[in-house]
Each structure stands twice: as structure tokens, then as C-alpha cells.
């Protein structure tokens, strides 16, 4: 039995896949095993010092707390624990992170510096507005940029993530329809939509119906038109879509939906593909959310925070949520927190979050917008699309590219696992890529393609970096085509080898139980 430095005893010998010699600590040079906090710390240890509490009456009404069982660590132990854990992560700072539809681009550190200025980071959401004029100006600035870049007249800044933005857009659609006494019940969602789209529509009380895709990976316009009718509240369409293609028929789709009295929601997650080159407002869209981390480089931090402002057409603008920022005649900013008699606030569907949205993301996005400017953002989408097409064309001879014949892709290239030796799948390609030192692409999405692999390089990858990635993916694909058995047990060199996800779901262990609990 090997013993970890801190006393943690692994349940099984720490052999590794390559059959190398086990070590006394379980570590392998710079690859360090790290126990859980609960195995390292104790309830009498702390990494903070406090001043003496002043003498004052106890006003806790006899509700004093018993044992909590929260272990602590000293400051050096804490720094080491989380630094060691960080080294078990792949991140965009380490290399290409080609997650299609998720979009991982370079995170400029200037944005971090700006977001941490005390004037932005250390202000309370309920301070008098006279003391936060600069913060309101930043919200207004980001909102104005979003309106100009999308060609839409209004924006709601408060939604906290892309999926929250979808909710915001659909609530506005529903409020607008109800305001005209039109209780429509159906939202149409193309097959290629993000999974959040149907979930959002259902969450708002709508019946969800799917619209099939064409053989080219776009919305089937005829099928859509055939389904449109007076019961359809709207469509949720992703453009550019999740196959990495621009919906050529977007204008016709919008016209058809409007003709039957419905409204058009666009999932703007992929706005980074067209920013500075196409304004969604010119395509007849009524509402669209924008994931600030995807287009404007706010860091995603292992799963958020996001920010999902929503832009609205004139038809939906009066229904936008509260609160929002407005500039008054004298140039000062005010915060509208409740419906007022003024026309443009009277129909708001209400409040979606406690405060004003993701201020920390707005400051980062503002720094990115100003850094790039209108000219730079146009180059952003151009380079993102060029990089994706480069990958598509360099790999279509070894990887099946189902829609490559239909023209250029946008910001992401879609492949499938057909062409692999029998029994070799997308999962094997993905895990093989890990051994090459890359984060895999998005796998098994979109659902319209069997064994999908969606590769999104973004604009912040160099040609040399792309060439290395292309070489690695080519090599792994060739092993899959040849039926190289070692690929089936990849990854071999990562901190953990394939993890048993079935066991995790069958008998979930979601927290470290106390010994007393385990005895129950």
C-alpha cells in the first residue's frame, strides 16, 4: 500500500496505465496527488486572524449553533492545496480549447485588472445612485455597444447567463403576446438548437415542438412554414447554428413567423462568428441573448459566471425586464427599478434577478470592446471563421465532415465518427486527443449528427498552434480508422484515466460524509 504524504491511503494501489513503478507518495514527480480538504484539515485550524470582538449583549435569542464540522487549513496549506488542484485542470491558458458551441478564447488580463478596481468591485447594488454614476455608465456603455453591434433598439442587461437570457427573451415574447390578448401555446425549436432552448420554452409554460433539419444541416424552411399557424408564439433559432452554419433563410424565416403573428427568438450564443459583420436586427430577429464570455472574452472559470444580456426589437422593447439604466437629460444616469407610467416602462414583465446583473462581467466586456473597437471586432469574427474553415479543410480527408460540401462553415467545424474502424467512436477520438495534450472538442453535439465532433478554434489561436492541433487530431483520427486498440483505453497520461460515470450515477456520492453519518 502506498501512502500519500499527508496520510491519505488510496483504496487501491496507485498503478498507472503504462505499468510504471508505483511511488511511495502516490505522486509522480510534478504530477501530485491531492487529498480532499476534509482529509487534510481540522476544525481547530484556520488561515485567518481576527481582532477581538467588542463586549456587547448577545442578541441571538438562544439560537446558538452546535458543531458544523467545517475543517480549515492555515494560509500556506490552503495556497498549496488549491494550487495543486489547479494543476489537474486543462485551461485556455495552457493551449487550444476547441469546445464547439462553448467558445473558449484568450482572456485578457487587462479585463481582470479593470474589474478589480475598487470603484467597480467594492460598491453595493443599493448605494444611492449619486455614488455609482461611473458603474451605471459602464452598464450603459456595454448596452449601447450591444445595441449598435446587433442593430437592435433596446437591451436588458440583467440576465445572468445565456440560458437566463433565453428565459428573458421568451418571457418578453409571452408578455407581448398576452398584452395583445393572444394566448399562444407553442414554441417551435429546430433540432439543432442548444438543449437549453426547449428547456427554457417548457419552463415558461410553452409546449415545445421540434422542426427538422435539412440534409445540409439547416432549418427545413418548408417544414417550418407548414407548422406555422395562429397557435405558434414563436420560434427559437440558433444562428449561426449548432452545425456551425449560417441559416441562409433567416430573413425568410422571420418573415414567415411574423406573417402568422409569431415572434422570433435567436439564440445568440454564436454571435462571435458574425460580430461586426452582420447585425441580427437586419435579419428580422425580435430577441437575442449574447453570451458575454463567448464574444467578449469574460473568463468562464470552470463553469461560470456567465452573463446573458438580451437585445430586443422595437416590438418587444416595452416588455423588457427591470431594472435598467437610463441616461437623463443632464447626462446623469438613473436606475429604473419599478414600472412607471412612462410608455416605455409600463409593460415590463418584471424583475428576473435580485440586483442589476453581472457587473463584474460588464466591466470585463467593456475593456474587451474598447480594446478591439468596431474595427477589431470585425477582425475577430473574420479570424474566427477563417480558423474554423482552415481546420475543416485540413481534416476533411481523415474525418467525415457531413456538411462540408454545403460551403464555408462559420466559427466551428463539424465532423462525425463515421469512417472509424468498427467499435471506434467519437469518445475514443476525444480521449486520444487528451494524450496529445489538448482539450477535446465538443462531443455528441449537435444531436442531428451521429457521433458529432464540433471543433471551435476561435480567433485567438495562431496558425502554428492550429497546425499542431490539426496534426494531433489527424494522428488520432488515423489511429481510429486503423482500429488501434490502445485508443480505446485512452487517455493514458492524464491525472486520471477514464472515470466510471455509470457508478457515479448509480450510487451517488455527492458530499464527504462525516464518520457519524456513515455509521447510520
Amino acid at each position: 500500500m502506498t501512502i500519500n504524504q499527508s496520510g491519505w491511503r488510496p483504496e487501491a494501489p496507485l498503478a498507472n496505465g503504462a505499468g510504471e513503478q508505483p511511488t511511495f507518495t502516490g505522486n509522480r514527480a510534478l504530477m501530485l496527488e491531492e487529498p480532499l480538504l476534509f482529509e487534510l484539515g481540522s476544525t481547530d485550524r484556520t488561515g485567518v486572524d481576527f481582532e477581538e470582538a467588542p463586549a456587547a449583549p448577545n442578541r441571538l435569542a438562544g439560537l446558538e449553533r452546535g458543531a458544523i464540522n467545517l475543517p480549515g487549513l492555515s494560509e500556506p496549506e490552503t495556497v498549496r492545496h488549491y494550487t495543486r488542484l489547479s494543476r489537474q485542470n486543462y485551461a485556455i491558458d495552457l493551449g487550444v480549447f476547441p469546445l464547439g458551441s462553448c467558445t473558449m478564447k484568450h482572456n485578457p488580463r487587462l479585463n481582470e485588472r479593470i474589474a478589480r478596481l475598487a470603484g467597480f468591485a467594492d460598491i453595493h447594488p443599493l448605494q444611492p445612485v449619486s455614488t455609482v454614476q461611473g458603474a451605471l455608465a459602464v452598464i450603459n456603455l456595454v448596452g449601447e455597444w450591444l445595441c449598435k453591434l446587433t442593430g437592435m433598439p433596446a437591451v436588458a442587461m440583467s440576465p445572468k447567463a445565456g440560458a437566463h437570457g433565453e428565459l428573458c427573451g421568451l418571457l418578453a415574447i409571452r408578455a407581448a403576446l398576452e398584452a395583445r390578448g393572444d394566448a399562444r401555446q407553442v414554441i417551435l425549436v429546430p433540432e439543432s438548437a442548444h438543449g437549453t432552448n426547449p428547456a427554457t420554452a417548457a419552463f415558461c409554460g410553452y409546449a415545445v415542438e421540434n422542426i427538422p433539419a435539412t440534409a445540409e444541416g439547416r432549418v427545413n424552411l418548408d417544414a417550418l412554414k407548414a407548422r406555422l399557424g395562429p397557435d405558434v408564439a414563436g420560434v427559437m433559432i440558433t444562428n449561426p447554428n449548432t452545425c456551425g452554419l449560417f441559416e441562409r433563410d433567416m430573413t425568410a424565416i422571420s418573415e414567415a413567423v411574423h406573417a402568422v403573428g409569431g415572434l422570433v427568438y435567436c439564440d445568440g450564443a454564436n454571435f462571435n462568428a458574425i460580430v461586426g459583420r452582420v447585425r441580427p436586427g437586419d435579419l428580422g430577429i425580435d430577441a437575442m441573448h449574447i453570451n458575454l464570455h463567448k464574444t467578449f472574452s469574460t473568463p468562464h472559470g470552470g463553469g461560470g459566471p456567465g452573463a446573458g444580456p438580451v437585445v430586443f426589437s422595437a416590438a418587444l422593447a416595452p416588455f423588457a425586464p427591470l431594472p435598467f439604466v437610463e441616461q437623463t437629460g443632464d447626462g446623469a444616469f438613473r436606475l429604473v427599478e419599478e414600472e412607471t407610467a412612462e410608455d416605455h416602462h409600463a409593460h415590463s414583465f418584471g424583475r428576473m434577478v435580485a440586483f442589476h446583473g453581472q457587473m463584474g462581467m460588464f466591466t470585463r466586456a467593456a475593456a474587451y470592446m474598447l480594446s478591439h473597437g468596431a474595427d477589431g471586432l470585425r477582425q475577430v469574427s473574420g479570424d474566427a471563421v477563417l480558423n474554423a474553415n482552415y481546420i475543416l479543410r485540413q481534416l476533411e480527408d481523415v474525418l467525415d465532415a457531413p456538411f462540408a460540401a454545403s460551403g464555408p462553415c462559420m466559427h466551428e467545424a463539424l465532423f462525425s465518427d463515421s469512417g472509424m474502424a468498427p467499435g471506434f467512436t467519437t469518445l475514443d477520438i476525444a480521449k486520444g486527443l487528451i494524450d496529445e495534450g489538448f482539450h477535446p472538442m465538443t462531443v455528441y453535439f449537435p444531436l442531428v449528427v451521429h457521433g458529432a465532433m464540433l471543433v471551435e478554434p476561435t480567433e485567438t489561436e495562431s496558425k502554428a498552434g492550429l497546425d499542431q492541433f490539426i496534426g494531433a487530431l489527424r494522428s488520432v483520427a488515423e489511429r481510429g480508422r486503423a482500429g488501434d486498440e490502445s485508443l480505446k483505453s485512452a487517455p493514458h497520461f492524464s491525472p486520471r484515466r477514464r472515470l466510471d460515470e455509470t457508478a457515479a450515477a448509480r450510487s451517488p456520492v455527492l458530499a464527504q460524509r462525516l464518520l457519524a453519518d456513515q455509521d447510520d
Partner: protein, 452 residues
């Protein structure tokens, strides 16, 4: 355009490989009338790093930072000291620039942190299971009401008058569209306890849940045991909202008091004020409800070599599998804020958290006595943690504005939160470990002048 690595020579070479004459040719699928021929009009061109710092730095200076003033605001967002190592560690690129851990073999860092986070939240709240963070307290509160609807198949939720009015507003927005009925009321300045009787009396066979905040919006704290029994006797769930998690270093946990779902705002620990966001939703419940719980879950498992590892699990509840049948549409969350919470909580440990809670309570209790001694000021609360409500002899909002002009951030006037409800003389005052005796003395003398 310092963030773009491609040179013009690269672009020429790559366009040749792609078989396109120009980048514009890659946009052929966009209808021609919708294609812009140059940069979007009305926006400036690119700027240097130094110029951006200058412009945004000037805007930052237009704000009065909490650290530059005697500061007493709370009401759902609290100013605590965050140790330097928290911000340093969350800025490590391997955490900051990672995505959702979809490939667990190379995301064990984030996954182990989420497992530690879930465990800390479970213990803090006195529950069995916690999810791996939500957007914020207000949206977590709404998600909890939706979860109670799924579990009980009932649609009437009773909200305490002491629930943060913004949380109530979020629930009201959502209920308009989901068909839930919400019963709620405004708080009063006449002391604690009356709301509890109203809540107990309102529970009936149609009630899915009762939602109560502790400490509540006015700072009152209460034992919720009797309320939990009242809920359970009628088949309803008790949802407890905690907007100030530091309080749980001093006060009995909601789980111990019988709560079925506990949600909270995690901002107090590790995150900072940030003008309202990003914040961190906390969400925990009992084992038996885990499959009805929204949001991401991290679970322990083993790898092919038998080594312990972590994965995202029970994803069949989620939008990418169940689509329109998912428990929630939530996809991304507040992973980085959860990391900050976990690191700060690790630095505190139980010893530090108890000390932090004790100093918060003692300073608040001492401050309440100083402020209540000002003529025209009355302390409303009998029991509280680090936040209490004052009834002033005059409306609070103009006073708060006048004090802001003198760089004193005096608290949250109830008139800002509740329009036309007779609460305009109420002022919510929060006192934490960052508040000094000098700050309290400054506020007391300023109030004395204003109320004279």
C-alpha cells in the same frame, strides 16, 4: 489588435488552403443586404491597453467605493474582508480560464473543488446534498419553489413577509408564466413574530411550500422548528433562504430546524460586493429529493486504475439530456464564485467562521446600542445577527441621500425596497467585521444632525 495572433501573411496562406479569395468570401451564406461592408458605425476604433485603463479607470473613480466610506449597507449583499490568497488563487489561469468540466480526466481540479464546495454547503446548511452553485440567491429561491411544485404537485407557495422583496419580485415574475399562486405580505416595523403566525395559519392542502428568510430582510432571526412541523403536517415543504451565510457560524442551521430545501446567497464568503453580480446561489436539500434538484452536481467515482476521481453526475435531470423535460434550463453556473467561496471557507474553517460570526454579531450589537441612543432613532429588532432595522423619526431615504453627499453610506432605506407601504421611516443597517467604532460614531453623529 493585440489579442489576434494571425498575421496578414498567415491569413493569405490560410485563405489559399481554404480556397477562398478573401475573408469576406467566407460569409457568402449571409444574405447580401445584411452584410456590412465596414466596421459598425457609431463605435470607436481599437484602443491601446493604456488608453482603455485610462478611460475605464476614470469611470471607476466616479463611484464611491465601500472601503472609502463609513459603510452600513446589507439587505442581501454584505461587505466582508476577503483574504488576499482567495483572489490570488482564483486568478490562476488553470481555474480562471477553464470551462465546465465536460472531460473529467483533465478537469479534476475544478471537480474536486466542486465536491469540496458541495460538502461545505451541506454542513453549513445542515442538509444532505447540495448542488454545484447557481446564479444567485434570488434565482436559487425561485428554483426551490419550482422544485417544491414538482415534489408536491401543488402550486401554491406562501412567501414570508420577511423574504427579500427582490426575491419576491423574481418569484412573482416567474409565477406569472408557470401558473403558481404566490401569497405574500409586506413586513411591518412593529417587531418580530407576527409573520410566523400568519404563515402557519395560511398553510393548507394546496400549499407546495412556505418560503422564509432567516435572518429576514429586517434582520430578525427566529427558530423555524414550529413552522417546519406546521408545513410537514400538511404535506408542504419548508424552504429557508439565507442571504447572509456568515450568520450560520453563530446560528442553528436551517436543516436542524427542519427545512426541506435551503437556498442562499454565497456572496458574503469570498465573492465581494461587485455592484450586485456575479454572485453565487447556494442550494441544498435532503437526500430523497436529489433527483428533483436543479443545477449541476459533482459526484465521486473511480477511474480505470481504481483511483478516486470526480465527475459531473445525475445529468439525466439536465437540459442537455432531457431537453423540455429537464428540472431546470440552467446550464452554466457560478463556478468561479464557488471556487472563491470554497477557498475562503477553507481559510476560515470552523474556528475562523465562528470567530468571524462572533465579531460580526458583537460589533452589530454594540452599534445597535450606539445608534438607538440617538434621539429619533428606535431599534426595531429584539434578536438579530449582524443586521438590524432602525425606525427613524423622519423618512430614511432623503437622509441616506444627504449622508451619501458627505461620503457616508448609511444603510438601505426601506423606501428603496418597498414603495408606498408606510415603511419609509425604516433603515436597514448592516455591521460586519469591516465596520469600525469610528464608522459607527460618524453615522451616529450624522443621524443626530439629520434628526435634530
Amino acid at each position: 489588435m493585440r489579442y489576434l495572433p494571425l498575421s496578414d501573411a498567415d491569413r493569405t496562406q490560410m485563405l489559399a488552403a481554404v480556397g477562398a479569395a478573401s475573408i469576406d468570401d467566407l460569409f457568402v451564406d449571409v444574405p447580401a443586404p445584411a452584410r456590412l461592408s465596414g466596421p459598425v458605425e457609431g463605435l470607436p476604433l481599437h484602443m491601446t491597453e493604456m488608453a482603455v485603463e485610462r478611460k475605464l479607470g476614470a469611470l471607476a473613480k466616479q463611484n464611491l467605493a465601500a472601503g472609502d466610506a463609513p459603510f452600513f449597507l446589507g439587505a442581501g449583499a454584505y461587505r466582508h474582508h476577503v483574504p488576499a490568497s482567495v483572489d490570488h488563487l482564483i486568478q490562476r489561469g488553470e481555474f480562471l480560464t477553464a470551462y465546465t468540466p465536460y472531460q473529467p480526466e483533465i478537469a479534476q481540479g475544478t471537480l474536486q473543488v466542486l465536491f469540496e464546495f458541495q460538502t461545505q454547503v451541506v454542513r453549513l446548511f445542515g442538509c444532505d446534498v447540495a448542488n454545484a452553485s447557481m446564479y444567485d440567491g434570488s434565482t436559487a429561491c425561485w428554483e426551490a419553489i419550482g422544485m417544491a411544485r414538482r415534489i408536491t404537485r401543488r402550486t401554491k407557495a406562501i412567501l414570508s413577509a420577511g423574504l427579500h422583496p427582490h426575491y419576491v419580485a423574481v418569484a412573482q415574475t416567474m409565477a406569472k408564466f408557470t401558473g403558481d399562486t404566490l401569497a405574500t405580505a409586506f413586513p411591518t416595523l412593529d417587531g418580530a413574530g407576527d409573520d410566523m403566525a400568519r404563515l402557519l395559519g395560511a398553510i393548507d392542502g394546496e400549499t407546495s411550500c412556505v418560503v422564509v428568510q432567516n435572518p429576514n430582510i429586517l434582520g430578525h432571526i427566529a427558530d423555524l422548528g414550529e413552522l417546519a412541523e406546521g408545513c410537514h403536517a400538511k404535506g408542504a415543504l419548508l424552504i429557508v433562504v439565507v442571504t447572509e451565510p456568515v450568520s450560520l457560524g453563530a446560528i442553528k442551521s436551517p436543516g436542524e430546524m427542519g427545512a426541506d430545501i435551503v437556498v442562499g446567497e454565497g456572496q458574503s464568503i469570498g465573492v465581494g460586493l461587485q455592484f450586485g453580480g456575479p454572485y453565487l446561489g447556494l442550494f441544498a436539500t435532503r437526500d430523497k429529493y436529489v433527483r428533483q434538484m436543479p443545477g449541476r452536481l459533482c459526484g465521486q467515482t473511480v477511474d480505470a486504475d481504481g483511483k478516486r476521481g470526480f465527475v459531473l453526475t445525475l445529468s439525466t435531470r439536465e437540459q442537455h439530456i432531457r431537453r423540455e423535460k429537464a428540472t431546470s434550463n440552467i446550464c452554466t453556473n457560478s463556478g468561479l464564485c464557488a471556487l472563491a467561496f470554497t477557498i475562503h471557507m477553507t481559510l476560515l474553517g470552523e474556528k475562523g467562521l465562528r470567530e468571524l460570526a462572533a465579531i460580526n454579531h458583537a460589533r452589530a450589537s454594540a452599534a445597535a446600542d450606539v445608534l438607538a441612543a440617538v434621539p429619533g432613532v428606535e431599534l426595531v429588532n429584539k434578536a438579530f445577527f449582524n443586521e438590524f432595522t432602525l425606525r427613524l423619526a423622519k423618512p430614511a431615504r432623503p437622509i441616506v441621500r444627504a449622508l451619501a453627499d458627505r461620503n457616508i453610506l448609511a444603510g438601505v432605506p426601506l423606501g428603496r425596497l418597498y414603495a408606498d407601504t408606510g415603511l419609509e421611516n425604516g433603515l436597514i443597517v448592516a455591521v460586519t467585521e469591516t465596520t469600525t467604532e469610528e464608522h459607527v460614531a460618524t453615522l451616529a453623529s450624522a443621524l443626530r444632525e439629520q434628526l435634530a
